[in-house]
């Protein structure tokens, strides 16, 4: 949707977007197939720990993947930028507007895609595909890179919110 600048301070704009992590979905499907094949190989020997333990571990991995890494939801607006993963919105990262120094759209190359949540002392990466991506430079020096369906709209929402805030600094 075309974003028009909002000059009325009583109005505010919020951007929400959801991106499915197809690599994680594919990984989950492959893992589920592995569980089925392992189950067939066991020939009913479910009491054997050699089969049961790996199957339980893989099943837990599949469940964790479905619950936490299948999709990324992002929200940008007056309350800052929030990233939520998976069905229940966890893990979650929130950045208040006054914590964000600069927001921009970058072109993320394929070899920089994290395909899941990667956290280091200097960076947070929540990227599931290459191409246009939101990059936030935080005031504490942290760099946050997030895949959203419409990065330009997300950045525009942050800038409008920053401009409308009474103690706003540049975003």
């Amino acid at each position: 949707m075309t974003s028009l600048p909002i000059t009325d301070p009583s109005r505010h704009a919020v951007y929400t977007g959801r991106t499915t992590s197809w690599p994680m979905v594919a990984t989950t499907c492959v893992a589920a197939l592995f569980v089925v094949l392992m189950g067939k190989e066991s020939n009913g020997a479910w009491g054997d720990l050699v089969f049961v333990v790996p199957l339980i571990l893989v099943a837990i991995g599949i469940l964790a993947n479905i619950l936490t890494a299948s999709s990324v939801r992002a929200t940008a607006g007056p309350n800052g930028f929030t990233i939520r993963w998976g069905l229940f919105g966890w893990p979650r990262c929130s950045y208040r507007l006054d914590e964000i120094d600069h927001a921009e759209v970058i072109d993320l190359p394929l070899w920089r895609v994290s395909y899941s949540l990667w956290w280091t002392p200097r960076r947070t990466n929540c990227t599931v595909r290459s191409g246009p991506t939101v990059r936030l430079s935080m005031r504490n020096g942290r760099i946050v890179t997030v895949t959203v369906p419409e990065p330009a709209a997300a950045v525009a929402a942050l800038r409008e919110a920053s401009a409308a805030a009474p103690d706003a600094d540049t975003v």
């Binding site: 949707m1 974003s3 909002i6 009583s10 109005r11 919020v14 929400t16 929200t75 607006g77 309350n79």
Partner: protein, 115 residues
């Protein structure tokens, strides 16, 4: 999806949220099958109560725009309605306004007063 609300407007917040979804569906930004954000998340983002968002979602469900599925949230089910009739009516309105010597700003003011 871009949500714009006016907290000081006379229009109910619930109706403003409904209008946002309808605009998104009409513009193709919300295609059929698209999942909307959970009510609690959207409420927090828009600084409105979760129940206000839920009321808007229910209204859209009753209008056949959304459907609720357990564990899958609210999803868009209706095709984008044709805007041609609205565009046609707007063109007629503009033509009538021109006949009466009214400009774009006058028209916008009248529409704002009426809504």
């Amino acid at each position: 999806m871009r949500w714009t609300i006016d907290l000081t407007s006379r229009e109910r917040l619930q109706d403003q949220i409904v209008a946002c979804v309808r605009r998104g569906v009409a513009s193709g930004e919300l295609p059929v099958g698209e999942q909307l954000p959970p009510a609690a998340e959207l409420g927090t983002a828009l600084s409105v109560d979760r129940n206000t968002v839920l009321a808007a979602y229910r209204q859209l469900r009753d209008d056949g725009v959304l459907e609720f599925r357990r564990g899958r949230g609210a999803r868009v089910v209706s095709e984008a309605p044709a805007l041609s009739s609205v565009t046609e009516a707007a063109q007629k309105l503009i033509a009538t306004a021109r006949e009466h010597g009214l400009g774009t700003n006058d028209l916008i003011r009248i529409i704002k007063e009426l809504t």
